[in-house]
């Protein structure tokens, strides 16, 4: 089973490498990439400097796998990659990388949106928002 959990922040270079790998697949006409980036939100006058992500690992990988299978079922995709950070991701760094590829744009875009919504809803991933003074609060998806 392909792993989706990724230790630490996702680098722009990893994204470039992933895009480059798809240039041999000449039946692809469209890619859609969604990236989640950690915001330096201010909460009660304290600034978020990082999110420390943890998860229920076995369940999370299973959920990512099911989301991937469901996306291939629903949409006519050539390729699909999902990476979610675990561990510390600083404000401004990337914590989620969803990459869909298809012959046509509509499929790639519809699939990408579906996957992002499914991850938010179903992946047992937990985020500790760490403030400048090293206090923290637990993030909840809205």
């Amino acid at each position: 089973m392909k792993k989706s959990l990724y230790a630490g922040a996702i680098s722009p270079q990893k994204i470039a490498d992933s895009i480059a790998h798809h240039q041999v697949k000449t039946n692809i006409g469209a890619h859609d990439i969604f990236l989640g980036q950690v915001r330096a939100d201010e909460i009660a006058e304290k600034k978020v400097v990082a999110i420390d992500y943890s998860c229920y690992e076995e369940m999370a990988e299973k959920v990512f796998h099911e989301i991937r299978e469901a996306a291939f079922e629903k949409f006519d995709l050539t390729c699909l990659h999902i990476y979610h950070s675990i561990g510390i991701v600083k404000a401004g760094e990337l914590c989620l990388f969803v990459f869909t590829s298809s012959r046509h744009r509509k499929m790639a875009m519809d699939a990408c949106r579906f996957i992002v919504e499914e991850i938010k809803l179903k992946a047992p991933v937990f985020g500790k928002e760490v403030f400048e003074d090293m206090t923290h609060q637990w993030k909840v998806n809205s």
């Binding site: 989620l96 938010k120 998806n141």
Partner: protein, 78 residues
């Protein structure tokens, strides 16, 4: 029977526990849940969902020896 109890995120922080092997007489999930709430009363004021063997369950399922029962705080992925 033996059941593995798992806590994550805020719940692990509040209970100061992440894994617990419980030898229980509870045969169904709601009985076990009450047992856990009595052990960790702090859970009563927290929001959580439950996964049995890595699958989210809403109903009062039967448990088996070795079942893994995970208490999950609100998700924050993505």
């Amino acid at each position: 029977m033996n059941i593995t109890i798992l806590f994550f995120g805020m719940l692990a922080e509040e209970t100061r526990t992440s894994v617990l092997e419980l030898n229980t007489a509870s045969l169904k999930l709601r009985d076990l849940e009450n047992e856990v709430l009595n052990l960790f009363p702090v859970l009563k004021k927290l929001t959580y969902g439950i996964a049995v063997n890595e699958i989210i369950v809403q109903s009062n399922v039967k448990l088996s020896p070795g079942s893994k029962v995970a208490f999950l705080p609100p998700f924050a992925g993505g």
